[in-house]
Structure formats: C-alpha cells, structure tokens
C-alpha cells in the first residue's frame, strides 16, 4: 500500500480527517520550506502538498503567485524540489508528500527521468494542474511504473462523464476544487461542495480532499466534515510572505504557519 493510501486508511480507521497543507518549495528559501514541513507535521498535517515553482502559475491567485515568484528569485527548480523531499525523508519516512505543479518543468526534465528521480526522493503523489486526464496518459504510465500516485482535480464544472474518466485514472485521493476561480479566491458555498462531492463519490472509492477557499479553523472544519480531508494553501503561503513583506524571520513565519495549522487540526478533530 502506498504511503498516501495507508495514511488515509489509518485516519479513516481512527475516525479522523486529513489536513493537507500546501506551501511553495523555496518560499522564501528551501531551508525554510524544510523547517515548515517538519513543523506542520508536528502540528497535525497528514499529507504535505509542495508547490513546484513555475514562472507562469496560471491557476493560482495573487497570494500563491507571489510565493512562486519569491522562490524563483533564488531559481528554485523541480530538481531542487526533489532534493528537498529527499532531505525531508531523512527525518520523516511516514508523512506523504505530493508535488503540485505545472507540466512544463516536468516535460523539460522528461517524464521518465522525473518519475525515477521523484521515486528515489520519496515523493508519493504528483498533481499536475494543467495536465487534465485527456493529456495525462504518458506521465500517468511513468508514475504508475514507479508507484507514485497520480492526483487529479475535480471542479464544480466537471461533467459526470469526465468525472468518471478522471476517477478511473486517479489514485491516492481526489482533490475537489471547491469553487470556480483561482486559488485563494471567493467564499465557499458549503451546500454546493456537499452535493458535488456526493455526486462524484459515486464514481470512486478513493478518499476526497477539498481545497480552495479554506481560510481559518472554522472553514477547515466545515470542509473536513464533507470529505476525507481539507487542503489549505493560500493562507499559509500568505504567512510565509511575511519574511519578504514585513521583514519577519523565517523562524517566526514557520511558527505562524504551524500554529494556524494546529488550530485547524484542533477544529477538525472536534468534529
């Protein structure tokens, strides 16, 4: 069983929900990212989604875009992201790590090379934002070859026909995008999320994690009640921004991220 599957199974057995934080690798530095990963695990993160910096992150709102830009100031690359995961694995061989990024850096490295390196580094899942199921076949085969889960997005606009196709290909978990828009946007319509997740669940037994628009402990709790897990990104990346925006130290930004995550974990566990 993959690290992701066993993690989510253990949570389900304990009647708990997954808390999935997202931060951008190298924002503001690779060292800070590593510290944040360990700190988040300490506060109850179940799976870590690590953003791979890209020059043109089309699906991201302004907060996460700036995170990518801050990482790119130091030319943090896909290769360096894989190195970071390997470093994380030296101390943590339990917590699943999912890379979330865009197609071009992976294409440039080559699908097979990427799959091999990711597997060696200890990556558990890959979510490629601009690679829908229709175009994902070649990368999917390479990920399958090395036993890495292929995580797909489902959106409020996904038709039933496509949802079936995506669910048939997906492994690990499904990531339901809770609203139309970019990351960090708008406000959540809980009823809408509820009915959509229920609809898509008929196509798969895989767990669902829901993201986009989770800002605090309350919204994390609400979302977690509708699925197997909640993904939280922009609000964490915003806290990392304090290092460059207001001169905070990386240590204090990591502390802020970890303490917010702790509040979310507490709220979710009260369900």
């Amino acid at each position: 069983m993959s690290r992701i599957a066993s993690c989510l199974q253990a949570l389900a057995d304990a009647n708990k929900k997954a808390l999935v934080p997202y931060i951008v690798c190298g924002d503001p530095s690779v060292e800070a990212t590593l510290a944040a990963m360990h700190a988040m695990v300490g506060k109850g993160a179940s799976i870590i989604e690590l953003g791979v910096p890209f020059s043109d992150p089309m699906a991201e709102g302004p907060v996460i875009q700036k995170g990518h830009e801050r990482a790119l100031v130091h030319h943090v690359s896909l290769r360096m992201t894989l190195d970071l995961v390997a470093q994380f694995r030296e101390q943590d061989n339990q917590t699943p790590v999912v890379l979330m990024g865009y197609t071009n850096p992976i294409e440039r490295m080559g699908y097979a090379t990427f799959a091999d390196h990711a597997s060696e580094a200890g990556v558990d899942g890959v979510l490629t934002v601009d690679l829908p199921a229709e175009e994902a076949g070649d990368l999917h085969r390479e990920l399958q070859r090395v036993g890495i889960d292929n995580i797909f997005l489902l959106a409020p606009t996904t038709t039933g026909e496509r949802a079936q196709r995506i669910c048939a290909m997906a492994t690990g978990y499904l990531y339901y995008v809770s609203l139309k828009g970019v990351t960090g946007a708008g406000h959540l319509d809980i009823e809408d999320v509820k009915s959509k997740v229920a609809e898509y669940k008929q196509y798969t037994d895989l767990p669902f994690c829901v993201g986009f628009g989770i800002k605090d402990a309350d919204s994390a709790k609400q979302i977690a009640s509708l699925a197997e897990g909640a993904v939280v990104g922009s609000v964490l990346v915003d806290k990392m921004a304090a290092v460059s925006d207001s001169g905070a130290t990386a240590e204090s930004a990591v502390d802020d991220v970890a303490s917010l995550l702790g509040e979310m974990r507490e709220a979710i566990d009260s369900l």
Binding site: D56, M58, A59, T103, N104, E107, R108, E135, T157
Partner: protein, 408 residues
Amino acid sequence: MSEVEKSTDTTYGEYPDADGHFGIYGGRFVSETLMAAVTELDESYARLKSDPDFLAEFDRDLAHYVGRPSPLYFAERLTQDLGGAQIYLKREDLNHTGAHKVNNTIGQALLAKHSGKKRVIAETGAGQHGVATATVAARMGMECVVYMGEEDVRRQALNVYRMKLLGAEVVSVTSGSRTLKDAMNEAMRDWVTNVDNTFYIIGTVAGPHPYPMLVRDFQCVIGREARRQCLEQTGKLPDALVACVGGGSNAIGLFHPFLEDEGVAIYGVEAGGDGVETGRHAAPLNAGLPGVLHGNRTYLMSDEDGQIIETHSVSAGLDYPGVGPEHSWLRDTGRASYVAVNDDEALAAFRKLTRIEGIMPALESSHAVAYLEKLAPSMSKEQIIVVNLSGRGDKDILTVADIDGIKV
C-alpha cells in the same frame, strides 16, 4: 476547378484531430475548472461553423464592417529595388482597426453572442488585439475587459487610451514579466473565475483547443482571398508566401489555404531581437524546444528548469515566448520554413517600405518585409512572392521616433 487550383492529396486541412492535436502539438492543457468551458466552446463552434446563417453573418461583417476583401497589391518599386521575384503585398493593414486581428475578433464575438455571453475578455501585447476586441464589443454592446502587461501599458499608451475610448476596461498586469504572457495568464484567471458569463477572445492561434483551430479558421479569409486574387491578377499561384510569426495568426491565415499546394514555398519570420545567437529574441521555432504553456504543447522559450524565459523584440506584437501549435507542426513536418529577422533589419524594412511604396508597415509586418531582402533576390523575376502586410505602422511611430532620438 482549373489545373493550377487543384490540390494534392496531402491532408493538412484535416488537422487538428478531434482532441486538438497537430501531431504532438496543440491539445488542451488547462486546469480542470476550464475543461468544461473549452469543451463547450468546441461543441458550439462545431455546430456554428457549418451553420449557413452564422457564416453569412461573418462574411457580411467582414465585407461591410472590416472592408474586405483587402487588396493584393503589386509592390513594383520594392520589386525593382530588390531585383528578383515579383512582390505582392496582402494589405491587411487596410482593414478596420488597421490589422488582421479584427477578422478573428469579429468571429469570436459572434460566437460569444450565439453562446449568450455578455462579457468578453482579451489579452493584448501591443494593443492591436485589445483594440480589435474593444471595437467589436462596442459594436455589439458587450462588457469588455482587456488584460495588458504593465510594461506594455507603458509602451503602448496610445492603444490603451483607444481601448478606453471604446468603452473597455484595461487592466494593467503586474505579475511575472509584466508582458503579453502574463496578460494571458491573468485573462485565464479571469475566465476561470467568471466562466459562466464570460467569453475569452484569444488573439492568436494559441491556447487550448479549439482556439488554435477556430482563430485559424477565422483568419483563413486572408489566404483564401490572396489565393484567388493571385490567380486572377497573375494567372498563377505564388511561388512563395512570407508572413511574420509571433503567436502566428496572420501567418496561419495566409498559409493554411496554400498548405496543399506543394509548389508554394512557405516562410514564417520570427522576431530575432538582438540576434538569435544572443539569446535576446522571440524566436521559439528557431531556438526553442517543445513544451507546454497557455493550454497547448508547442515550441517554447524556456530554460533548463522549464521556466518560461523573457523575450526581446522591438515589436511588442511578436514579443511572446510561444507560438501557435500548428506552426510547430508545420516546422517539424518541413512544410513551412521558419527564419528570424533582427530588430535592426525590421526597422530598416519599416523605413524602406514607407519611403519607396508609401506604405508604413507595423513593426511586426516589417519583419516579413525584411526577409524579402534575402528571399526575393534569390528568386527569378518570373516568380511571385505574396507577403502578408498584417498591420499598419501608425501605432509604432513613437517607438521608431524614440529609436531615432526624436521627441514627437
């Protein structure tokens, strides 16, 4: 059909395939939220493109609003000057709004109308596509938002004001390199957020399927007219076609109706900037590699980490790190050749055409004209070259004056 008009049995017209692929290029590389929108657009376009009423409406607008057909003009003095093949200019600069861009915005605005969308958005670099979009939105009473990189807003102040006069909101984009590619990212973000009521009018033959196909189809009026006019005026097909390539919509519009005419050589001219060898250029087909950006797989300028790199060209309209996927495919199949012309060569062509033909070309189109310096003398006087004069140069006067050190 006369002998000379008969096509060979190659099948360029059948591409892209149903999923939008030209060989390995094209496709749909967008986030999940947009998949429904591009699929819906594909279905509605498939329905409308064979709807006689829709096509008649498009043709009527092209005739009476744009002023088509545009002339195919024999540039006699330029021909004499270069001392080789006869040069004909396809005068897209004479269209309403001054460039080929309007052919496409008319078509897409009609698609928006038929889809019941009341709000249109667009990205723009030099501002020509933004102006063409704002123009058709004004005419059809649609809300219009144009995304433009902060750097381009500064460089193209006149077009920004023009769009505002037409009633469009111009949003200055401050992310990334603050140019056309970032404007396109921002337009995609708007679209993903307002997908229910908004139609995204993409300005070139790039983006997720069906955009490269439908923009091509709307721009093909250029090549169909040129083919007919050349036969009427000279009794034969041209021996060569030349067009500038940024995203490549004017070029594909001219090239596509000739793809199956094997005797017609095809040249796309990319922006060489300071010189392809310097790395400061916008010539992905000359010096890039296949990759994925803005919804399609195509030749791109990206570094070894896969990050998109900044482009350089005196012409804002060519300053884009990618290119339409059909061009990538035509490059690989060898049907078309892609060359590059540097900034200084394009500027010299701008001045020459202005002085000896009284036609001031856009700096984009000046790249195509500049390539004639190499191509025309290498051909015989009986041979014919058709060049797409894709836009007029009025918008570039301040740029040229600035280079000359003149304050206008």
